[in-house]
């Protein structure tokens, strides 16, 4: 099969933008992504588009991909909305890779968009829990904060993970996010800030939870047959793994890791023919701090149960053994649900091209993106290699 390459990627600022729509944000991100392609992209170059979107608030649930693509000037091409909760645009990238590898398409746009801040505070919690298991989990009184808090309680009981370790994750995310001009919460926080913030769902405080975010991110994926027409800095997508699991936590074999994340990572490593030690940096799905700790373990950056210590010892901070979420992650950069997976790829694109500024990972050659839907019902993992890696 043909290789697939990431040739362009960009995001809007993440934040709250009362003047923007889900369509105008996507258009901005698309136009910015085109700017990152040295050879440029004309609308007629694009063969296919995949748009990740949960449609928070209920706007345009039907035919949202055509509505978005048309607004960005991508008329007449096949476009599809991807919905896998918060993993929507991770899966959009997966579909783009598959379209390119299969030979069906040469240039594919894969992105996502979400507007979450224009709904009332009474309506928002409904949508924030809409990807939870509805018939049992939700009716026991949980949204995702509650489910991830339950995971944290189980992780603490099994491994002795502490709330302070969760807070270390938050502090590190904000440290990184403060260096990212696109971040929604681009400020630093102290361990005390994180520890003493109001409880949302015990043991998680406000600083252990990501914000609600408006934003869009777009990637452009090319086949090996055409890549040289567009860039001399191609980033090869060497691993694409994905897996799913029971939507409800209670339906899983484990409450202390995400089996689908482990399976997706194994598949991505196998396809890329690399192991966890070969990864230079990663963007992981830290919707709640406990999720980042589990990601370290599921991606095998450490042994199960060691994730809390990895954060505490600073090994996942910039300059550490394996920098994680140099963008600030979902916690600081923001989490516009449908756009998050593509947003992770934007950071990896910047890092591998050496364009990440003061948060640049020295010698970054291979990056990994880990995108989780719900509490682990759907996971995608991608591994990207920069132009300097010999193939």
């Amino acid at each position: 099969m043909r290789d697939a390459y990431l040739i362009g990627a960009a995001q809007t600022d993440f934040g709250a933008f009362p003047k923007e729509s889900y369509r105008s944000l996507f258009r901005q991100a698309y136009e910015a992504a085109v700017e990152t392609v040295p050879g440029g992209i004309e609308p007629e170059d694009v063969d296919e588009a995949y748009v990740g979107m949960l449609s928070i608030g209920g706007r345009q649930i039907g035919l949202s991909a055509p509505a978005v693509a048309e607004h960005a000037g991508l008329s007449n091409i096949p476009c599809t909305r991807l919905e896998n909760a918060c993993a929507a645009s991770g899966y959009a990238i997966r579909d783009a890779v598959q379209a390119v590898k299969s030979g069906m398409a040469d240039i594919v746009v894969a992105g996502g968009t979400e507007v979450m801040n224009d709904v009332s505070s009474e309506t928002l919690p409904y949508w924030l829990g809409v990807s939870g298991e509805m018939e049992w989990e939700r009716m026991a009184g949980t949204t995702f904060a509650g489910v991830y808090a339950q995971i944290a309680s189980a992780h603490m009981a099994e491994y002795g993970t502490t709330r302070e370790q969760l807070s270390h994750v938050a502090v590190k995310s904000h440290q990184h996010g403060a260096m990212n001009p696109h971040a929604q919460l681009g400020f630093e926080c102290s361990l005390e800030d994180a520890e003493n913030a109001q409880i949302v769902a015990d043991p998680l405080t406000l600083y252990h939870c990501c914000p609600t975010t408006d934003g869009a991110a777009v990637t452009i994926v090319a086949s090996e047959d055409v890549v040289e027409e567009y860039t001399d800095e191609p980033i090869r997508i060497v691993g694409a793994g994905a897996a799913s699991d029971g939507v409800g936590l209670f339906q899983r074999d484990s409450y202390t890791n995400l089996p689908a994340a482990r399976a997706a990572a194994d598949r991505a490593y196998e396809m890329a023919d690399v192991g966890p030690n070969d990864i230079d940096f990663a963007e992981v799905h830290d919707c709640f701090s406990i999720a980042e700790i589990m990601a370290y373990e599921d991606l095998q950056f450490c042994e199960p149960g060691e994730g809390g210590r990895l954060a505490e010892e600073g090994k996942t901070a910039l300059g550490g053994q394996i920098p994680v979420n140099t963008s600030g992650g979902l916690k600081s950069k923001g989490h516009p649900i449908g756009a998050t997976g593509a947003g992770q790829a934007v950071e990896i694109f910047k890092q591998l091209r050496g364009e990440a500024g003061e948060r640049q990972v020295e010698g970054a050659k291979r990056g990994l993106a880990h995108n989780v839907g719900g509490s682990g019902g759907a996971v995608s993992v991608h591994i990207f290699e920069g132009p300097e890696v010999d193939t």
Binding site: P125, Y126, E135, M139, T143, V200, D202, F250, Y255
Partner: protein, 482 residues
């Protein structure tokens, strides 16, 4: 004269755990108008006549050592049914495994309903489960509300039971306006014409008593209609008993006015205290009286299971919040939507924790849908009821911002936080199956993973006007000493 066929084989009583002392109400309102009430029970925000009736019933069935599937007749008495039309005995019966073919009836509109159902059960030859459950409301600042408590009593009646029904009588005569609740109103009202009310009670009770064949000197306790702790004594004279006999079955002073469950609760506590001869005197405004004379054979006290002690004291502020007088109701904006037909298909799981055993690998699956969670085979599950006991495997206390909107008002009433977790329910022959569950605990911060819990049934929420009842769990405190 109707023939008496059955006696009482088992008694169960349930009173909500939360109590407010009269002193707190006096401090809050500046006065306290309910006579003789020292504390009263306050139902939790997810309790109602159905859930309290369920609690009393499982205790009565356990006391009588009878399974719900062996009940032939289900009689449900309440003046505070959570719906005005819809037969709640279908839901209550399903919660208790009462056969679908059982005869059933709901009696409402009168505080005498509970005793009327006991009379009906006594005249039935099969096995009858009588459930009386009530949680009356008055206008916030009046004597009826000051007295208003809550509770439920349930009785298994069958032939040759240890507590024999010696005689029964009913009587009615028109006395409007003594205590009434008009159509559309949530609160009970009264004209408070004291002499008229006394006359109504006296004439109804004496009319019934005059038809009853009993020896007033042998009555050890008289369980009399008790909207407060003074009115039962007005029954002494027409019933021909002294005040000590009435006092021997007095419970209203501790739990408040339990409506039509009040007499049943008084009967339960008198029997539990060893009374071998009890005169049961129900009264409903309008006015009707229903009497039973009960005697236990020598050394044959009927088994009683009571959960009536109140361990948690409420402040006035908590009380006002629970009574719903200050909360704003469910927010607009929608909740998680589970359609009523979808919900109805899961009632065996919601009410009775019915799991499925995989015939291939024997794994317990909950809910028993889809392929087996262990072996992945598409199977027809063998229905297996999980035990109501289990262990908390994961836990969170949900604070502000963490609750789904459909739980927002409940969260307010629970004081801003509630616990929710995953419970591994014990299988009947070992093993377990896990399910998410709301955790009932006044001090949720004291809970921990590994705690033992037990399931009960409470209201989940009401959507599209239809209340969903389902299991929730409460910690088993004795098992969780740390």
């Amino acid at each position: 004269m109707r023939a008496i066929e059955s006696g009482v084989a088992g008694i169960g009583a349930y009173v909500p755990d939360q109590r407010i002392p009269a002193s707190a109400l006096r401090e809050g309102w500046g006065q306290f108008l309910a006579r003789g009430i020292s504390t009263k029970a306050v139902p939790a925000p997810d309790e109602d006549a159905v859930t309290m009736g369920y609690e009393a019933s499982i205790r009565a069935l356990a006391a009588a050592d009878v399974d719900g599937s062996e009940v032939e007749r289900l009689l449900f008495a309440s003046t505070t049914l959570p719906v005005a039309e819809e037969d709640l005995t279908a839901r209550l019966g399903a919660m208790l495994s009462v056969p679908e073919t059982a005869i059933r009836s709901t009696v409402t509109g009168s505080t005498a309903a509970g005793v009327q159902c006991l009379v009906e059960g006594a005249c039935s030859s099969g096995r009858t489960l009588v459930v009386a459950s009530d949680c009356p409301y008055g206008a916030p600042d009046d004597a009826i509300e000051h007295a208003a408590g809550a509770g439920a009593a349930a009785f298994v009646l069958e032939p040759d039971a240890p507590l024999t029904v010696m005689d029964i009588a009913e009587y009615a005569l028109p006395y409007p306006g003594t205590r009434f609740r008009n159509k559309g109103s949530e609160t009970v009202d009264s004209l408070s014409i004291t002499s008229y009310e006394r006359e109504s009670l006296k004439r109804a009770l004496s009319g019934a008593a005059s038809q009853l064949d009993y020896d007033t000197n042998k009555v050890a306790a008289a369980a009399v209609h008790a909207p407060d702790a003074a009115i039962p004594y007005r029954g002494s004279e027409p019933l021909g008993v002294d005040n000590e006999t009435v006092a021997a079955a007095m419970i209203v002073d501790e739990i408040g006015d339990a409506g039509t469950a009040g007499v049943g609760l008084a009967l339960a506590s008198a029997v539990a205290d060893g009374a071998d001869s009890v005169l049961v005197a129900g009264y409903g405004s309008g006015a009707t009286a229903a009497l039973l004379c009960l005697e236990s054979a020598a050394d044959q006290a009927p088994p009683v299971e009571l959960t009536i002690e109140g361990r948690r004291r409420l402040s006035f502020a908590e009380y006002v919040r629970l009574r719903g007088e200050v909360t704003s109701g469910a927010p607009e904006g929608g909740g998680g939507y589970v359609s009523v037909p979808t919900w109805q298909r899961s009632l065996a799981q919601r009410y009775r924790l019915e799991a499925g055993r995989c015939p291939t690998c024997k794994e317990l699956n909950f809910p028993p849908t889809g392929v087996c969670s262990a072996c992945g085979t598409s199977v027809e599950y063998e229905p297996v009821e999980l035990k109501r006991s289990g262990t908390l495997e994961a836990l969170s206390v949900i604070s502000q911002g963490g609750a789904p909107p459909e739980f927002a008002e409940l969260q307010t009433k629970y004081g801003g936080a509630y616990a929710t977790g995953i419970v591994a329910f014990d299988g009947p022959e070992g093993g377990s199956a896990s399910a998410p569950a709301f955790v009932l605990d006044a001090e949720p911060d004291d809970l921990a993973v590994g705690d033992r819990v037990e399931a009960t049934i409470r209201r989940i929420y009401t959507q599209e006007g239809v209340t969903r009842y389902g299991f929730k769990v409460a910690p088993v405190e004795e098992a969780n000493e740390r």
